[in-house]
Symmetry: D2
C-alpha cells in the first residue's frame, strides 16, 4: 500500500481514520491505497505457471468415470485444471478453462448450449461423435473440434472403450464479464449418426473453396480440423524451410493457426488455436505476451520454461502460461504441441503486447 | 451445487470423497459441482444496483482534499465508487471504475500513463487543465475529456477554488485481464499553458473535417467534447423529433454518442460514452443489456429503476447498472444524464445482447 | 504496334494475314498487336491537363440561362467541362465529371435520383436550396453539399438573382462500368422550405457527436459542410503549424478532408473531397498519383503545373489533372483550393500509387 | 437527344447555335443533350451477349502457334475474345478480358509483371508450369491458377505437346482507370523446376490452416486451386442437398467460390471466380446483375440464355454476359461451368445490384 501522507499530526491521523471509515460507509475506496495493486507497473497475474500430467489426469478421469454419472445438472464429466494461484476457482488462467473430459463406453452427454465458446482437442483415442447443432462430428486423435458460442452440442461414445480429451473454454472470461447464458437441449441424443465426415467438413473443408451461396460468419463454420491436414501442413512448412523458403515462425519451429475459412481470422472470437512443431534440439526464442495460453504436448518430449519454473513434459501434459510470463520451449525429441490462447480478446480491445527475445538469454 | 449422483452406496461415497481429495491435490476441480455457478442460465453479476449521492461524494472528497496530499505513489486524489456487491475491490461494476477526483486550489497531479483507458466528465466547476501528451485541455462544466490508453496525463488547478469531477476507467477489466502497464512521467508539470482550446480540438474538432495528412486512430484524437456542442446536438435532436423527423432513441428521449471522428466508432476502445436528454415526464422503455454501465445525472431530477431497486436522483448522483439488470428511467423534470458503459468490449467479443421492452411493464 | 515476328517468308506472310482475318471473323484480337497500348509501362491517360476559366464559364452559363429552360429530359442546366483529350465525351477526366450548373432567379430543377454520386461546391453566391430526400439544404459560398448515390434531389432558387456552382459527379466511371440507374421524382417541388440549417446538419453536424440511435452509413449522412467550419479548420491547422505542432500536409500547406462522420472515411464512396490552403509564396511538393483529380480555386491566385503545362489561375478557375501526371501548385497570394478526386476507387481496388518529390525539382 | 427547349423563335435558334459553338470552343458539353446517354434509366452496355466456340478457338490458336513466335514485345501468344459490341477494343466485356493462350511444345513465355490482375483456367491438357514470383505452379485440367497484380510470372511447356488455356484479366478496367504499370523480368526462365505442388500450395493449401507467422494479404497467397478439391466440393454440396441440408445456390445448382484463405474474400481484388455444377435437366433462376461476367463450360452441354439470345454450349465454349442482362442456364447433361466476374469492383464501390427470378419466366 502506498500512503500518500508523510508525517501526520495526531488530530490529522484521527481525522484520516474517520475519513476512511466514512468512505467505507459510503461504499467508496480511495485510489491512493489501491493504486499499486490496481495499476501495477507490469501485469502481475494471480495465476501461476503450472503443469498437469496426462499420467495423472487420465487415471483420475477414469475413476470419475466409475463414480460419477454423466447427466443433467452436472452436464459433463469434465474436470478442470484449476490454477493454484487462483484459489477456489476452476480457472486454468485468468481467462481460460481447460479440462479433461471423459466419456465411458457407450455413454452420452446431453445437449446444451451456452455463451461460452468451446473446443475439444484429442490427444488419444477415437470413437466419440460430438453433434453440433445436429451435425455429427467424429473425434479422433489429433483433431480439433469446435463448439462456437450458443451452438447446441452433445457427445456420445459409440465404442466399448472410454475416451478422454482436452476441453478448452473461455469460462473465466465470460464469468468475469457477467456475459453467460445457458440453455438445455433435448435429454435424448438428437442423432446417433456416425459419419466419417461432418456436413461442416463437406461444405467448408475444401482448401480455398467456400459455398458460393453462404455468407461469412464471425466463428468458423468448419467444426473439425483433422490431424491428417495439420500434420501435412507442419511437415510442408518445415520442408519449405529446409529448402530455404521463408515459412516457419523461427528456425526449426513451424506453426499453423486454425482459422475461420470465411474470414481468415481465428476459429473462435475469444480463443486462438495453433499447432506447433519443433525439430529435435530446437529451443524457441523467449517470448512474453499480454494474455495467457495453455499448451498440451501432442507428441514428443521436452522442457517448457515459464517465468522462473521449468516443466519436463511428454505426450498429454498440459502447461498454463499466465499473462506476461516469459516462455521458452526446448524440444528433446521432435515435439508437437497444441496451443490455445486468449489473444483475440487482447487484440480486439487494443491491449495486446508481445516482446520477443528480451534479455538475450533463455 | 448439483450433485450428479443419485443414491450412492457407502463404499462409493468413500471412493467419491477420496476422488475429490485427489482432484484437490492434483489442482483439479470437477465441472459438475461448479456448473451452475460458472455457467448460469443468465448473467448473475456479483455487482449490485447501487447509487452514490453527489451530496455525499463532494463533501467526502473535500475532506480528503484537506487530509490527503496529491503526489507520487497514490498519484491522484480519486475516490472510487466501490460496488457493495464486490467486496474488497474498488470496482463500480465488473468492468468499470468510477471515481470522484478532487483537486484543491492551485494543486497539480503529476504525469503518468497506463494501459487503462480513462475519461473525465465535469458535472460542475472549471479551471483545471489536463495535459494529455503535452496538449493542455481545459475542463469545464458538461465537458467530456479523454485520456486514451498509454497517453501521459497530468492535471493542474489554476484557480483559487477546488474542482471535482467524475473519472471513468476500465480498471476492473484490465485487472481481470492481467493487461495493465503503468509508467511515471516527469514529477513537475510539463506545461502550465491554459489555452481555451487544445491542439486536439483545433485539429480534430471541426464537424466532418479531418486533417488530410493524418491517419485514422483506434482511440479518438479529439480529447475534449464541449458541452456547448453536446447541448446543441441534444436540443436539435428533440426539435427534429417535434417536427416529425426520426431522430431520437424513443419519444422524448434524445441521445448522442461521443465518437472518434476518424472511425465513427466509440471514443475509447473499451468504453462507450453518451449523453441522454429526457423531456419532463418521459419514462424510458425498460432495457436489459449484457455488460454494465454507470449513469450520472448532469441536470434535473428523476427516478432510476434498476432490477428491483429504485433511486431518486438529482444533479451529480451516480448509479451503477450491473449486467443484464432491467433499467428504466423516469424524468421528473427535464433530465440530462451522462452514461458510460463497457459495450465496445462485448461487441468486439461477440457477447453483446440487448432486450428492449420485455414484459411490457416497468 | 509490336510485331513479334521477325522475317517471314512470303507464304508465312500470307498465312499470317489469313490468320488475322480469321481472328477478325471469329471476334478475336491478338494480345501481341495490342500489348503496348493495353498494358503500357505507366498510365498513359487519354485525358490531358486542362484549365477552364470562371471568367469564361459564368458568362456562357448565363447565356444558357437565357436560352435553355430547365426541365424534364435535360433535367439540369449543367454544362460539363469536357476534357479535350477525350473527344466526344463530356468527361473532365477518365472518371470524373465537373460542370457549372446555373439556376436563374426563382427557377427550380425537378427531382430525380441516380446511381451516380454527386456533390456541389459553391464558389460564389447564395439563395439556392437543394432538397435531398426531402431535406432542404441551403447553398452558400464556400459550402460543400452532397447528393450521394440514389438520393432524390431537386434545386430551387429563392432569390431574384441567378446562382451558379460547381457540380462534381462520377458519371464517366459509372458509364464505363455500365452501372447507372436513373429515376424521375415528382415534377413539382417537394418542399419550398428554406431553413438556415438542414435536418442533416442538426442531426450529424456536431463535432464528434452522433445520434445514438442511428447506425453508420457508407455515404455521409451529413449533406452540408459549411465554409465557416472549413475556414476555421484550415486557419487552425496553419496556426498549429506556426506553433511547431505537426498539423499540415507540408510546410505552409494545410488541407482538410471532408469526411463521413459515421466512418471517418470519404464523404462519398467514389469521390474524395478536400480543401487546401497555401500560404502566399508556397510551392507544393511535386506529386504523381494514379487516378485523377479536379481543382477549383476558391480564393487567391497562383500557378498550377500539370505534366509539362502550367496554368495561371484565380478564383473560380478549374484545372483537370489526369492520372499519373506530375502536379505542383505555386501560391502567388494566399491560395484556397477545393479538390475532388477519384482516390477512393483506386484504394478500394488495390490500384492506388502515389510518388512525392520525385526528381527533386518542381 | 433530348432538346429541352420547346418552340424557339428564329433569333433564339441562332443564339442557341452560337451558344453551342461557344461551348465547343471552350471545351464544354451541356448535360441536357447528353443526359439520356450518360444517365440512362438502366445500364445500357455497349458490350453484347456473345459466345466463342472452343472448336474455333483452339484451331485458331494452333495456327498462331505455327506462325507467331512468343517473345519480348508481344509477350504472350494470347488471343482475346473481343466483344463485337465494343469495336476496335480487345474487351470481352466492359471490364474483363478473356483470351485463349497457346504454348507450343517446349516453348516458354518470358517473365513480366503488371498492375492488371490475372488468372488461368485449364479446360484441357497439362504439362505447363507457370512461375509466379519464382514459385513453380503446375497447370492441369480443371485447375485455377492465380497471378495477382504486380507478381512476376512466366510460363513454360515441358512437354512435346502444345497446351492452351483460358486467361482472365481486368485489362479493360485498368485501361479505363488509367492505372496500369508494366515491367519486364529476366529474358530467360528463372526456374525450370517442375514440382507437383507449388510452395504456395504447401504453405497455404491446407483446409482452415494458415502459417502462424504470416499475415493476411489482399490477394490470395494460394496460387493454385486444384480440380480434385473443386470437384469434391461440388459433389459434397450436391450430396448434402440430396440429404436435405441447405447447401446449394438453388435446387440442383451447386457452386463454390474460390477464396483468399487469409480473408475469406475473393481470390483477387477485382475478379470473382467460381465453379458451378448443374444436375442434368436443371434450369437456373433468371438473374440480372450490375457488372459483367464470363462463363466457360468445363464439362457437359446445355443452353445459355443471355438477354434475348441463346447459345447451345459444350466443353470449352465461352459466353460473355454484359451488365444487367438477364441470364439463365439450362443443363442438358450434368454441366460444370467456370465463371469469372467483376463483382468485387461493384461491391467495393457501392454499385452492386442483383435481381433474381424477375418476371417469373425465363
Amino acid at each position: 500500500m502506498t500512503t500518500p501522507a508523510g508525517q501526520l499530526s495526531e488530530p490529522e491521523d484521527v481525522a484520516l481514520k474517520q475519513l476512511y471509515d466514512d468512505f467505507d460507509r459510503a461504499a467508496l475506496m480511495p485510489l491512493w491505497t489501491q493504486r499499486e495493486e490496481m495499476m501495477s507497473l507490469v501485469p502481475s497475474p494471480g495465476a501461476v505457471p503450472a503443469c498437469w500430467r496426462w499420467a495423472t489426469l487420465f487415471p483420475l478421469a477414469s475413476r470419475a468415470g466409475e463414480l460419477v454419472p454423466v447427466g443433467r445438472g452436472g452436464e459433463r464429466r469434465a474436470i478442470a485444471l484449476a490454477n493454484p494461484g487462483i484459489p477456489g476457482r476452476p480457472f486454468t488462467t485468468a481467462t481460460l478453462w481447460a479440462a479433461i473430459q471423459f466419456l465411458g463406453p457407450h455413454e452420452s452427454a446431453p445437449a446444451h448450449r451456452h455463451s461460452q465458446t468451446a473446443f475439444r482437442f484429442v490427444v488419444e483415442g477415437e470413437g466419440v461423435w460430438t453433434n453440433v447443432d445436429g451435425d455429427a462430428v467424429a473425434m479422433r486423435r489429433g483433431d480439433l473440434l469446435l463448439t462456437p458460442s450458443w451452438h447446441f452440442h452433445e457427445h456420445h461414445n459409440t465404442t466399448d472403450k472410454p475416451m478422454a480429451w482436452l476441453d478448452g473454454l473461455d469460462i473465466p472470461l465470460v464469468h468475469q464479464l457477467d456475459a453467460g447464458f445457458f440453455e438445455l437441449g433435448p435429454d435424448t441424443l438428437t442423432t446417433a449418426a456416425t459419419p466419417a465426415r461432418s456436413v461442416s467438413e463437406r461444405l467448408w473443408g475444401h482448401p480455398g473453396l467456400l459455398p458460393a451461396a453462404m455468407p461469412a460468419r464471425p466463428n468458423s463454420p468448419l467444426m473439425a480440423y483433422r490431424w491428417i491436414h495439420t500434420d501435412a501442413a507442419l511437415s510442408d512448412q518445415l520442408a519449405c524451410e529446409a529448402e530455404g523458403v521463408p515459412a516457419t515462425v523461427e528456425p526449426g519451429h513451424g506453426a499453423v493457426r486454425f482459422t475461420n475459412p470465411t474470414t481468415g481470422g481465428d476459429v473462435l472470437r475469444t480463443i486462438r488455436t495453433e499447432m506447433h512443431r519443433l525439430r529435435a534440439g530446437v529451443t524457441t526464442t523467449r517470448v512474453r505476451t499480454v494474455g495467457s495460453s495453455v499448451w498440451q504436448v501432442f507428441e514428443g518430449s521436452g522442457t517448457v520454461y515459464v517465468a522462473d519454473q521449468s516443466f519436463e513434459v511428454a505426450t498429454g501434459d498440459v502447461v498454463a502460461v499466465p499473462s506476461w510470463q516469459k516462455l521458452t520451449i526446448e524440444a528433446t525429441t521432435g515435439l508437437d504441441l497444441f496451443r490455445f490462447g486468449d489473444d483475440p480478446v487482447y487484440e480486439a480491445l487494443g491491449l495486446a503486447r508481445t516482446v520477443r527475445g528480451e534479455d538475450g538469454t533463455r
